[in-house]
Symmetry: C2
């Protein structure tokens, strides 16, 4: 089995400049991500993927060396894009931003990217445990990096906001990320927006259920 090769299995040496040489590859990835989410990893055959792309199963091997390479790419894109969106949103904030806005921004960005890239992110939430161990192993570093980012962010909130220093932030991070990721299983546009969801969860996490009076944003 070839190692960590990424991108087209072979590159066409005669691809027209300016054309979209990766159109098929992208279609395969989008289709695979959708089917993996709907049916699971093992239940989705290469014939299924190819069929929905208007291709034959054998054609997939021009773009990917194996089924494992396809799910690997889907997993990678899911984590990396969410991670990038959240980091971008947080870095765009002023350095002295208040803790409440900081947490709200990260929660909103995570939720927004998660639900916008549903098929790719669901692969991570739903079928990560089903893929071959070798594929899982290759993505643990990416996941760990994103989790460390969140722990750092929570620590910054507690310090700058004067929040309860006795909370175990490792557990808080797990609870919050799991609560956010769970929305993939029940969120449907219409009943509520991503904005409302982010607002509700942020308020719950910061103020709790008991807070008798909603806390106004602190004047700076």
């Amino acid at each position: 089995m070839p190692a960590l090769e990424r991108g087209p299995h072979h590159r066409s040496p005669t691809a027209a400049p300016g054309a979209a040489p990766f159109a098929s590859r992208q279609l395969i990835l989008d289709t695979a991500a959708r089917l993996f989410r709907q049916e699971g990893y093992a239940a989705t055959s290469l014939r299924d993927i190819a069929g929905e792309c208007g291709m034959q199963a054998g054609s997939l091997y021009y773009h990917f060396a194996s089924k494992d390479m396809i799910i690997g790419e889907v997993l990678r894109l899911g984590v990396e894009r969410v991670s990038e969106e959240v980091r971008r949103a947080v870095m765009a904030l002023p350095a002295d931003v208040d803790a409440r806005t900081l947490l709200h921004t990260a929660v909103r960005a995570h939720l927004s990217a998660l639900l916008e890239l549903q098929d790719y992110t669901s692969a991570n939430v739903r079928i990560f445990g089903q893929v071959p161990a070798s594929v899982r192993q290759a993505h643990i570093a990416t996941r760990d990096a994103y989790e460390r980012f969140w722990t750092g962010l929570l620590r910054r909130c507690v310090r700058s906001g004067g929040w309860n220093p006795r909370r175990k932030l490792g557990l808080v991070r797990l609870f919050v990320i799991n609560a956010l990721n769970g929305s993939l299983e029940w969120f449907t546009e219409g009943r509520s927006t991503v904005e409302q969801l982010a607002h509700e969860l942020t308020e719950l996490v910061i103020d709790g259920l008991a807070a008798p009076v909603p806390v106004a944003r602190p004047p700076r």
Copy 2:
């Protein structure tokens, strides 16, 4: 395909009284639940299950009519046992119990049953989305009933505890249950106990991250 039949596919008419006529059936279910959790639904073959039971694949059909019937039973046992444990724990409380103790009791019972029956409950959390639609359909009623129980419990907390009445309890329920169920993916005995976990999550949900001073249990 036979319909909602439950229990052994056939009953042995000569099972010795006092013996354990369901030992094989139980072994099959336990093994199947474990493999479904580890490998996913489609990736677990009947040969895999039978092999780990010291049987041949064909022998499974004495106990179950199809693979779908096996996963159906695993899913059912997972939800029903957690639901029973939580209801039992809550009903054992005095009628005028304070809101904090009420929520803590439900959270602890859910976590405890969830992690004790890991293989069965993980089937619900991890591979529910992968099983055939007909199997999923048959279990939606059971899930809905348990979710309604939680919404009622949260409403009772808000009323009796004088908590913030503006929280959207449907969302709170989803956040809390997702946070709890997520523990299946990362909890390992030793780093922390179920007791500590339940305590931390309950405090977080009730008081939030910002509460500068941990709230003492209110005197009654």
